[in-house]
């Protein structure tokens, strides 16, 4: 582990992965939340997937 830190940049790599996963998660949450809000306003027949 120490060797990994010394060979450098592990922290930055962790940052990179976090940004990627975090970005996807944020987008996903926004879409899902909007989905829930809109689904409440529409009757089930209007939604082809229910």
């Amino acid at each position: 582990m120490i060797a990994a830190v010394i060979s450098g940049y592990v922290g930055t790599v962790v940052l990179g992965y976090s940004l990627v996963l975090g970005g996807m998660a944020l987008f996903a949450l926004r879409v899902l939340r909007r989905g829930r809000v809109l689904a409440r306003q529409l009757p089930d027949e209007d939604k082809p997937w229910t």
Binding site: G8, G16, L21, V31, G35, A39
Partner: protein
């Protein structure tokens, strides 16, 4: 018959939930490979691990915009004209912007690590990605303008094709800009062609995982878009109904 009845209203179905789980598994797999199972590069050290998210992000960006362009063509072609194509085109472009942004961020992070500064105009890939982002930001902005659905769809379709057509042109011009331009000192470290088998596999894992994420996001974003379209149509109907239902004595607003 339950095709996945939801106790809570939303855009989820059993199919999409399975897909979601698969996507998460893929991402976990990627993290494992990226951090543990793949070796550090001799030259670049651990920073090469960023490639396992950077390259897939870029790939998916191109895929997303390709889908947008394809759907745009399908919409414009009279025989297959349907607002569904337009809807998917828009959703795919938004997700494409997400992936483009991720590609940019990871590319800049990688740049910071390998060359000491975040941005480099000599880095053809980075610059091309930035232009790709700008290209489709305009497209998404255009889509947000209020208009009749078919007018909006037609505009967007043509704009989408214009934008996608530009991608190879941008790519080529930036590539030549880097190599034919004066600077002899090319600090950009290319992904080593003699790439370790495990590294290549990690990139592959990344692509698979991100593709699953893309499809999952597309499904949900598309369902949201369907509902938005319904509400828009419904809102219009309601406004018309209210107009018609107005009692005679009320001052009628001239249309």
């Amino acid at each position: 018959m339950t095709a996945g009845t939801t106790t809570r209203p939303g855009t989820g179905t059993r199919g999409s939930r399975i897909l979601g789980v698969l996507a998460l598994a893929g991402l976990a797999w990627l993290v494992i490979f990226g951090f543990l199972l793949s070796p550090a590069d001799e030259v670049q050290g651990d920073s090469v691990r960023l490639m396992y998210v950077h390259v897939p992000s870029a790939w998916l960006a191109y895929l997303s915009f390709g889908v947008t362009a394809f759907c745009s063509l399908m919409y414009l072609w009279k025989r297959t004209r349907s607002l569904a194509w337009d809807r998917v085109a828009g959703c795919s472009a938004e997700i494409g912007l997400l992936f483009t942004g991720l590609a940019l961020v990871t590319g800049m992070t990688w740049g910071q690590v390998t060359r000491g500064h975040v941005w480099d105009w000599g880095d053809a890939r980075l610059v091309t990605t930035a232009l790709l982002f700008l290209l489709f930001v305009g497209y998404v902005a255009l889509r947000r303008l209020p208009a009749a659905p078919n007018v909006r769809a037609k505009r967007a379709a043509v704009a989408g094709i214009i934008a996608f057509l530009d991608v190879p042109l941008v790519h080529q011009s930036v590539e030549w800009f880097r190599t034919l331009h004066q600077s002899p000192t090319i600090l950009r470290k290319d992904l080593n062609p003699q790439i370790d088998g495990v590294m290549l596999f990690s990139v592959f894992v990344g692509v698979v995982a991100f593709t699953l994420v893309y499809v999952w996001l597309l499904v949900h974003r598309n369902r949201v878009a369907m509902m938005e379209a319904q509400l828009e149509a419904g809102g219009l109907e309601q406004a018309l109904a209210e107009r018609r239902g107005e009692p005679v004595g009320t001052a009628a607003v001239g249309s």
